[in-house]
């Protein structure tokens, strides 16, 4: 069981936080920001793909996709924030973990009136608390 990496995008598509733990392979793109753009592009086309494919009524929420060696769990908020967490394919309890991460973000970043929320998250408290929940999660070991 592993947790690979975590992407956090704001509503303009900017990656405001990125962290990797046990990433084995890199995308082969030397510029990190280019990789973030590719990831954001993939997530937004995945959502519009799902939206168009389904002809059923009701809200369309993309939950996760799985490949042979990893699983990407996706969450977005009504305010346009998007989070993606890569884990191994059979990790359990990841959506709950992501909600927890969102709560950490609210507590440490949004509630701080001095921080500009459209910029990269520089908060050390956010980083350390995020590390805490990831490392103590059962899927991390």
């Amino acid at each position: 069981m592993t947790i690979y990496n975590f992407y956090f995008f704001n509503r303009n598509g900017k990656c405001i936080y990125y962290k990797e733990w046990k990433r084995e392979k890199h995308s082969g793109i030397s510029d990190r920001t280019e990789e973030f753009k590719l990831m954001f592009g993939m997530l937004s086309s995945l959502c519009s793909f799902a939206e168009r494919l389904s002809t059923k009524e009701g809200q369309q929420v993309v939950r996760h996709f799985r490949t042979s060696s990893y699983k990407l769990t996706y969450i977005d908020t009504p305010t346009g924030l998007r989070m993606a967490l890569n884990t191994d394919p059979y990790a359990a309890g990841i959506p709950e973990l992501m909600k927890q991460i969102y709560r950490i973000y609210v507590d440490t970043v949004l509630r701080n009136p001095l921080l500009d929320t459209s910029e990269k998250i520089e908060s050390e408290l956010f980083a350390s608390r995020l590390d805490q929940v990831i490392i103590h999660h059962s899927a991390y070991a």
């Binding site: 990789e35 389904s54 002809t55 009701g58 809200q59 996709f65």
Partner: protein
């Protein structure tokens, strides 16, 4: 039906086969007064409801007829005079008007676009993989459907879309479709890899297979 759709995508990303259950679209006819309660807009060359729901008319429903005149694209004809639907519905003296709506469906064009979108998403998922030696998307879950994909060694993708609650042995279903593809399409010496699959035997066997799957959701046997 717990199986919503089946797509087969060639290695170049083109849609070569698609299947969907045959069900009659129930159209809804309603009388509307000025001003119109639902908001329509042109979307992919069709007039769709984009905002406001009334009675059974829901968002994404497609306008198919105005006062009994069939709408094609975004136009309809009164005494051979073409009328733009959206302009017609702005005029107050055209009301009350009777509009017919159909539930959303995918046009062939949209299916082709969706398959090539999936083809690229699959490739990007490989590139962005944090783990070594990953395949592309094999399973996608959303609140409204589950998508399962099998890519053959030659790069042909078999995609089955099911309801979110379906409990079908998808693995064996996909392998069985692959087998049919190999048996009835590939063994035909005149079959071109990038051309749509046109084989009666393929269709017939697929239909029987799906009937069997719907009846007994367990493992698919020969």
């Amino acid at each position: 039906m717990s199986i919503y759709r089946i797509f087969i995508i060639s290695r170049a990303g083109g849609l070569i086969y698609n299947w969907e259950p045959k069900n009659e679209l129930v159209e809804i006819e309603r009388k509307f007064d000025y001003p119109l309660d639902v908001i329509l807009d042109e979307y992919d060359k069709r007039s769709c409801v984009i905002f406001g729901e009334k009675d059974d008319v829901k968002v994404r429903y497609v306008l198919t007829a105005v006062n009994g005149h069939a709408v094609s694209d975004t136009r309809f004809f009164i005494d051979n005079q073409p009328q733009e639907v959206l302009d017609y519905l702005k005029e107050q003296n055209n009301f009350p008007v009777s509009l017919r709506f159909a539930p959303p469906s995918l046009s062939t064009n949209e299916k082709i676009i969706l398959s090539s979108t999936f083809h690229s998403l699959y490739a990007i998922a490989v590139q962005l993989s944090p783990a070594a030696k990953s395949t592309g998307i094999e399973f996608l879950e959303t609140s409204q459907f589950k998508l399962h994909c099998l890519q053959s060694r030659t790069g042909v993708k078999f995609i089955v879309i099911t309801s979110p609650t379906a409990s079908i042995a998808i693995e064996s279903l996909l392998n069985k479709i692959y087998e049919f593809y190999a048996d009835y399409a590939l063994k035909n010496p005149f079959h071109n890899l990038d051309m749509p699959i046109r084989s009666e035997k393929f269709e017939e066997n697929l239909r029987l297979l799906l009937e069997r799957v719907e009846k007994s959701p367990g493992a698919v046997t020969i």
